[in-house]
């Protein structure tokens, strides 16, 4: 019998410390979780409950699955006591993936903030996997301090990929930092793509989403080309429990990525 509430065991292969409060968990689920970039899973920390997370690894990597997670509360706090060899539960994938077919032939302008780079990494890896299909890929990423930058090594490697343009900023630099200083919108003074023909993809904390969206609209991106990862409370992930209601949507099934066009009439879409 198919029980959508049942998690399957997933062993932790490795825990990578990204920043003092963000870790990447490399998991090996007992059964394949065939996710596509943008979809999420429900991760169970046995005895502590579940929380939704977006895989940050490539959808073309089927052997293991990575999630990059920030410690913010109860479930994530418990997760951070887990180490390689421990067993978690996982169910999914849920929600709608990024509509990559609509991205074909267009420039893609990705803006991430903090741990919001996690789902964007899955997208980025899916795009570079078939990079010829798309125009240029721009990645703009902001973190609070140089210490809070995730995927430091990978970012350096990605910059070398032909057709990829990366720019980084931190809100404030206390140590050595060669890139820009300022909130992430400081990377958006000039947007080098043809905004009417490009797509923008954003994920980050609500306040950042709000200002980035404002800037993208100002720059002339059409609302239906701005893809936003919406964070809501979730319980089931299945479109049944009601918790993730955002205006007329259930973000777990209609999202988690929605376009500005879809949410623009919702009162305060960003918390």
């Amino acid at each position: 019998m198919n029980n959508p509430y049942q998690p399957i065991p997933a062993k932790i292969l490795e825990v990578i410390e990204e920043t003092p409060n963000i870790r990447t968990f490399v998991l090996k689920p007992e059964e394949d979780i065939p996710f596509l970039a943008g979809q999420f899973v429900e991760l169970t920390i046995p005895g502590f409950g579940e929380a939704p997370f977006t895989p940050s690894s490539s959808q073309f990597e089927r052997e293991k699955l990575e999630m990059t997670i920030m410690r913010v509360g109860r479930a994530t706090g418990a997760l951070f006591t887990n180490k390689a060899g421990d067993v978690l539960g996982i169910r999914g994938p849920y929600g709608k993936p990024y509509p990559l077919d609509k991205f074909v032939g267009r420039d893609i302008y990705i803006v991430g903030g903090g741990v919001g780079l996690a789902p964007l990494r899955a997208l980025f890896l899916a795009l570079v996997h078939e990079i010829k299909k798309y125009g240029r890929i721009y990645l703009r990423y902001g973190a609070r301090t140089p210490n809070d930058v995730v995927y430091k090594k990978q970012l350096k490697e990605w910059e070398k990929i032909k057709g990829v343009d990366i720019d980084l900023s931190v809100d404030s630099a206390d140590g050595p930092w060669e890139r820009k200083v300022g909130v992430v919108t400081c990377l958006m003074d000039e947007i080098p793509c043809d905004v009417k023909r490009s797509v923008a993809v954003v994920c980050g904390p609500p306040i950042m989403m709000k200002f980035v969206t404002r800037r993208l609209l100002e720059a002339g991106f059409p609302g239906e080309s701005i893809y936003l990862s919406m964070e809501t409370n979730m319980s089931c992930g299945l479109g049944q429990c009601g918790h993730c209601r955002l205006g007329p949507y259930f973000t777990c099934k209609d999202g988690p990525v929605l376009t500005w066009e879809q949410i623009k009439d919702i009162e305060e879409p960003f918390l």
Binding site: M1, Y5, P46, G47, A51, V72, V87, G239, Q240, C241
Partner: protein, 344 residues
Amino acid sequence: MIYFLPNERREKWVARLAGEFNLFLPVQIEGKIHWQKYDKGNFAIDQLALSEIRAAEPIKAFLYRPREVVATFPKPIDPAQEMSALLFGVKGCDLRGLDVHRKMFLEGEFRDPFYTRRLENTILVAADCPMPRESCFCNLVGLNPFVNRGVDLSITTFDDGWVIEAVSDRGEKLANSAKDLFVPAGEHHRARREEQRQKALGILEAQNSKKWNPELSRAIAEKTSDRSFWKKAGEDCVECFGCLMTCPTCFCFLLYDQAKAKTGADVNQFERTKVWDACYMAMYARVGGGANPRPEFVQRFINRFHCKFMHFMNQHGFYACSGCGRCFTACMGKIDIRNILGQL
């Protein structure tokens, strides 16, 4: 097919059904109607409140349990096989709850296997409401005080017996197995039934004579930003959540896990329970780290109207409200949604 069951044979039929199924029926207890299990004639047939309005408890709990273990880890569980239940005397409004839950639990991408199995295993016998009460407004949400779809049998009560119509194949089978008790009914029974049904409708029309805005969902959308309207409408709410817990259509739930043991070998084993939840609760929509999209009660109050009367109508073509009146019957502040909706 339509049949007639004379008064003196009713008890025999009901007792026979109780031998075959877990039989639940509405009984009047201290002025209120409650679902009771029929066990070896633990009450007389005349105590049966079949001609009354819906019971205090919604039938939702029979199918969608207030709490239920839906998963165990790491070893999975299967939904238990239970003896078939027969709900004897469901009302027109009770079915709206099933329609809402079908949409939420069965017709999306993921099916709830527990709900599926219970629904398959539950036989529904409806009974008309010849005398709607003041709290009833099924006619305003597109329903009738009688049933001719979505059940197995439909009963209309009269002084001398019951007119019974088989509405489904399963109902036809049930009727066939009672052939020795049922009498085939004819046109004049249909006419009597029709007359009684029209009378009940007339009562509802008279007491709910003020019609709602025909574009109610749009009216709600337009009224949303008028916070003083909603604040006033909800000002007597004490946040007991009685309205939502007693509502037959509310579907919200929460999944929560309990560890089998705090330490030792079983520490990784847990049980996952699905419990009814309520969108009025302050923590309902809170996200990780503490941000809350609906921190004020008035926002949560509006959310309930959005869910039931706007989004559900726009997406599924009917209100997620049955007109049963349980919410304001339960309400300590006597907040009557009919008054609120009537002003829009």
